[in-house]
Amino acid sequence: MFTEILVLMLSAVLIENFIFSRFMGCCPFLGVSEKPDTALGMGCAVIFVMTLASAACNLVYNFILVPFNLEYLYTIAFILVIAALVQFIEMFLRKAVPSLYNALGIYLPLITTNCAVLGAVILNMQKYSDVAKGESLLFSVLFGFFAAVGFTLAIVIFAGVRARMVYSDPPKSFRGMPLALIAAGLIAMAFSGFSGTNLG
């Protein structure tokens, strides 16, 4: 059990990093990575939502969609669960933990259409649809959490790189997004070094 969790953690955070090897969540990755602080804020919000969404969608899938033979509606069901969850988290944080809301609040609405969250939930469904319900819930939550940690790691590293890029003087047509994408490609190259790792 412990080794399984360790393997899951390493592969979700490093080897199959959500951004650098799966390309999920590129919009916030490119959009909110101008400064390391905001990148960290976005990352924390994603960790929060993705962990909860993994749990909620797993429950919805196992206890609503499967019993009623509605598996084919998973896309609609999951996106609605995620949207409702994000709305709920926003309201809850605003009332209960205002300091956390002030830190994460502006990033929360953006997460509904973040493909990393929907992607993680769908991957969970595909991976753990055959195992027992309790186990699939546990592993879904762990996968959601660690994948979001990998996302945060990637976006914070990238924000650090971009903060330095401000001082560079590239050719005019490379300014802005092209240079950011090429920098992301170079970081992805570093991350692809992990892909040879065999975790047996």
């Binding site: 650098f20 996106i79 991957l123 595909q126 047509s173 092209p178 090429i182």
Partner: protein, 224 residues
């Protein structure tokens, strides 16, 4: 809707307002599926189908959807069409379904489709909305095919799965791996910006020449 407008919309979709290379929308799927031309085209066609249908329905319902819940309504409409497209691909093109994998359901969160719904379909009549969806979808497909064309030739030495490069060619595997995706997309966007600025300069110089000629003519007229 006259002919000129359609031509303009097509040009906008493919060049001036290309959803991928100029507006930078929906980059996740662009980077993920462009490892071969077949995948790129399949993804483009699937997204176009969803975009056209969702634009049509949203445009038809634009007067009935309350403003406060419009985004949620759009997402439900879009995910309905995505489910249909997904089931169709699963049934008739199982190979494509396997290679696109999780990115077919992820069309739901493709920012391009939501952006067109919000920016165009919610404010226009059904027919222009269909045309808008079609032109933007074609632009998206063209961008996907262009990127996957470069990546497939460089990374695998093939085109549509057929070997086209000379025998001694050593495929540059990096081009179909994730880093190559980022770098090639970045270079293409840079190329696009360069072309735009060149065209902008040309237009500017043409305008300047035009005004110069006009002032000359005016001066001559004044002399007479």
């Amino acid at each position: 809707m006259n002919k000129l407008n359609i031509k303009q919309m097509l040009l906008d979709g493919i060049l001036y307002k290309n959803p991928v290379l100029v507006q930078l929308l929906g980059l996740c799927s662009v980077l993920a599926v462009t490892t071969s031309v077949v995948n790129g085209f399949g993804m483009g066609a699937a997204a176009t189908a969803v975009l056209v249908c969702s634009n049509l329905l949203i445009s038809l319902l634009r007067k009935f959807i309350p403003k406060q819940v419009r985004i949620a309504a759009y997402i439900v409409i879009i995910s309905g069409f995505v489910t249909m497209v997904e089931l169709l691909i699963k049934a008739y093109l199982p190979a494509l379904d396997k290679s696109l994998g999780v990115f077919i359901p992820l069309i739901v969160v493709n920012c391009m489709i939501l952006a067109r719904a919000e920016a165009f379909a919610s404010k226009n009549k059904p027919l222009p909305s269909i045309i808008d969806g079609l032109t933007m979808g074609i632009g998206y497909t063209v961008a996907l095919v262009a990127i996957s064309f470069i990546r497939e030739i460089l990374g695998a030495g093939t085109l549509f799965g057929y070997n086209i490069m000379p025998k001694g060619f050593q495929p540059m595997l990096m081009a179909i791996l994730p880093p190559g995706g980022f770098i090639i997309l970045g270079s293409l966007i840079a190329l696009m910006q360069k072309l735009m600025s060149l065209k902008g300069n040309k237009a500017a110089t043409a305008k300047a020449e035009d005004t110069a000629i006009k002032t000359e003519i005016k001066a001559e007229e004044g002399n007479e």
